[in-house]
């Protein structure tokens, strides 16, 4: 209603404006004139360009024989040709005073040098300089237009005017990208040492495409002897480092192993990846340990590259590390790559498990002799372990049934083998039986066939094994520890402790120590959770690969603030985030804060210190029940506590007191250092006096560690 009334009140909006007819005529005239001018200019410029083209064509036709004459002139030519040559020289000098002519001549020579090769091309370059055409190109370099400068650089480099090197080299740090790139290629093409100059002086980034063009330019140089590109691996410009790595790879300069290996620790992922790629290509086996060390602090993309390289250059010694990744890493592609690497090093170690119907799996066939060699059994165990892991995630009941069958098959074979074998089993069989027993135990444990009480029953066996171990030769012990490393689990704890206490060989002791740590974590995830929440973790990788930033089994990345902090671009945002950590942070943020303490500025450090203090205080004040307030954690704690052999631990703690001279021979009455670390790892408390007596050292524990030890102590008391 309102609108319709308005419509009728405002008729001027729908009526045509009143314009004077003369004005309309004037406008018509104006547009006609503009159209006429437009067409006139079109024809004018078209004709002009056509005329120029014709003129240039005729000039080229005119110049073609002159250039040919100059190029193929020889002092041995007949007199008539000599005379013709002299006349042409005079003519061309007259022409050269004309700028347009010089331009056409330069264009002709520039075009022609692309189509001719050999001696003719060399003569062409000389002719270009003899005619003084390079001066025009020099003038182009001082032009303000980027396209003219670029054209000048291109002309000088294509015509091989080596004197222009210093003029062009000024442009390698030009702010105009096109000019800079053209200059980079030009200085490389002009002189062999051009690449050195470029790598020494460039301040800008060198794109990947540009790197390829530069390599192409280098490859086209005749008799080129590349410098040692490892010199530039220490450059401050990361693009120079990247380019050097690419050049090293291109020219197969594999003597730069140490520098390349060091670059794996570079903070930039691109450099890391390039270095890893070089390591893979050159098969730098010695870089394996570094790759493993840096692995945990890398991004997923770098991790994949590292695993790919370990798969290519690694050996069976790396399988343990790769298996650990399979268990600890959460990123699917990294885990997948770890499995691929395992299969590359040891083919068919990990078999497909997705959508596999277990009923179709063929039973293990008995060997003709009835005896199993160690390798065979190891393979079977690995196989069954893999099946267990995968199936557990799907349906527990099914696995148990299937795995019982596998276990029975292995178990049944032992007596049959003995019955069928008439000859008495001698020394090597002891080892095989021992292995079988160990493996059966492992299988039973992994299948859940042995519970905590069953573990207790195994004590006698363990003592027997300890006695057997004591009687073994050194070689046998090494093999035995090897086996424990690969298939050992929690039930081997006593044996491993026995080895650590009684073994004379320090290396074996240390390996036993590592295995003990790893078996402490391996079977149940509950132990992991407990170690994360209560005790300092018994995490194998944390000790195998020294990682300052992985505290208590928690990575800095696990903090919810980690990603947010990474995106915080300014100081204020960072401060706000740390304030948030102070107010709502918990123990999972501690590693992240510790990392920040190491890397950040003083202002941030102060805040971080405050945050750490607050969190530590909060944890110490918090009762254990509050810490483990969720049901999952409680169940996990219960399970883990069930599994801890407290009597054994108590023995471990008390042993130095009751048997002070157990290791008198090797350690002068002191327990091994590794065991001390283990005590610390497990959070076992003993008084200051004992500590001093045992180790002869007085360690100062950090506040967080003390808090965790207290928490652990509290849980033990509750138990």
């Amino acid at each position: 209603m309102y609108l319709s009334s308005k419509t009728y009140q405002l008729p001027f909006l729908i009526s045509s404006p009143k314009i004077h007819t003369d004005l309309l005529w004037d406008l018509t005239l104006l547009f006609v004139v503009l159209a006429g001018l437009y067409f006139f200019f079109i024809f004018f410029f078209k004709n002009r360009s056509a005329t120029l083209f014709k003129k240039r064509k005729s000039k080229r036709a005119e110049l073609a024989p002159i250039i040919s004459n100059f190029l193929f002139h020889s002092p041995e030519d007949p007199k008539t040709e000599q005379r013709e040559y002299v006349e042409l020289k005079i003519t061309i000098r007259e022409y050269l005073s004309d700028k347009y002519f010089r331009k056409v001549l330069a264009d002709i020579l520039f075009d022609l040098q692309k189509d001719v090769a050999g001696a003719t091309q060399e003569r062409l370059y000389n002719l270009y300089v003899e005619l003084g055409l390079h001066h025009d190109a020099y003038q182009k370099l001082s032009n303000w237009r980027w396209n003219t400068v670029s054209k000048g650089i291109l002309e000088l480099s294509q015509m091989k005017v080596t004197d222009a090197f210093h003029f062009i080299s000024k442009f390698i740090n030009d702010k105009r990208g096109v000019v800079r790139k053209q200059a980079e290629i030009a200085i490389i093409s002009l002189k062999d040492e051009g690449i050195n100059h470029l790598l020494d002086n460039t301040k800008y980034a060198i794109s990947e495409w540009q790197q390829l063009r530069l390599i192409e330019a280098l490859s086209s140089l005749k008799d080129y002897r590349p410098p040692k590109f490892k010199t530039w691996l220490i450059s401050h410009n990361k693009d120079v480092v990247l380019f050097s790595l690419r050049l090293i790879k291109h020219f197969n300069q594999n003597e730069a192993a140490a520098s390349i290996t060091e670059l794996v620790k570079h903070k930039n992922d691109q450099v890391k990846i390039a270095a890893i790629s070089c390591i893979k290509d050159f098969n730098f086996n010695e870089a394996n340990s570094v790759l493993k060390k840096v692995f945990w602090n890398c991004s997923a993309m770098v991790k994949v590259q590292i695993l790919d390289t370990i798969g290519a250059i690694g050996d069976e010694g790396d399988l343990m590390f790769l298996n650990e990744i399979g268990k600890l890493e959460s990123n699917f592609s990294v885990v997948n790559k770890a499995h691929a690497a395992i299969n590359t090093i040891s083919p068919d170690s990990i078999l497909p498990t997705e959508n596999i119907v277990e009923d179709l799996v063929a039973p293990i066939t008995k060997s003709e002799s009835g005896l199993y060699d160690v390798e065979f059994l190891e393979t079977e165990v690995e196989y069954s372990e893999v099946v267990v892991k995968s199936e557990k995630t799907i349906e527990t009941k099914e696995i148990e049934v299937e795995e019982i069958e596998v276990f029975n098959l292995v178990e049944k074979k032992e007596p049959k083998a003995k019955e069928e074998t008439e000859e008495p089993i001698e020394a090597p069989d002891f080892k095989i039986q021992e292995m079988e027993r160990e493996l059966n135990k492992t299988l039973n444990f992994s299948l859940g066939l042995i519970d905590a009480t069953a573990l207790g029953k195994g004590e006698d066996e363990s003592k027997e094994t300890q006695e057997d171990y004591a009687q073994m030769s050194k070689e046998q012990r090494v093999k035995f520890v090897d086996t424990l490393e690969s298939v050992g689990d929690k039930r081997e704890t006593q044996l491993l402790e026995f080895i650590m206490e009684h073994e004379e060989d320090a290396e074996l002791r240390f390996r036993a120590f590592n295995t003990l740590k790893s078996v402490g974590k391996k079977p149940e995830q509950a132990v992991e959770i407990v170690s994360k929440t209560i005790t300092p973790s018994v995490e194998p990788t944390a000790k195998l690969e020294p990682e300052p930033l992985k505290l208590d089994g928690i990575l800095p990345e696990e903090s919810i603030f980690y990603d947010l902090y990474a995106y915080a671009s300014d100081m204020n945002s960072k401060e706000i985030l740390i304030q948030e950590i102070i107010s709502i942070g918990d123990e999972r943020d501690i590693p992240f804060l510790v990392q920040l303490q190491q890397t950040e500025t003083d202002i941030i450090k102060t805040l971080v210190d405050k945050a750490l203090e607050t969190i530590t205080k909060a944890i110490s004040e918090k009762p254990l029940d509050d810490v483990l307030d969720n049901s999952v954690a409680e169940v996990a704690v219960d399970n883990a506590i069930d599994e801890i052999d407290f009597s054994a631990l108590q023995t471990l703690v008390e042993e130095p007191e009751t048997k002070p001279n157990t290791n008198t021979d090797s350690n002068g009455g002191l327990i091994p250092l590794e065991l001390c670390f283990l005590y610390d790892e497990l959070g076992i408390l003993y008084d200051e006096n004992n500590k001093k007596e045992d180790l002869g050292l007085n360690f100062e524990l950090s506040k967080e560690f003390e808090v965790m030890v207290k928490s652990n102590n509290y849980s033990l008391q509750n138990e």
Partner: protein
Amino acid sequence: MEPKKLLLAEDDAMLASLLKYRLEKDGYAVAIKTNGKEVKQDIAEHLPDAIISDVMMPYFSGIELVDFLRNDLKSNIPIILISAASNEENVISAFKMGANDFIAKPVSPSELLIRVTREIERYYCT
């Protein structure tokens, strides 16, 4: 002795002129054609002693020229192809069609001269 007549089929006038100069300097009579249509017309009327042709030419490519010469005109005169696209496929197809030689660009005029001379000698002296 009458100079051998060569037909040079090349669309780049400058290069054609340069090669012509070089070949003429060594006693050959060279005729330049800048497109395939002209070449086809010319060789249909009277055959030269040898042909040097670029592969990429307007209207009629060098490969087609070889085919026309060998299959339509049933001539076995030497024919040398020049091309900037010297990939394996091009070279093989040129030889399969019956080309006597194949030179990749950039061309060395001296090398071309030697190859032409060798092909002419091979054809006319055997």
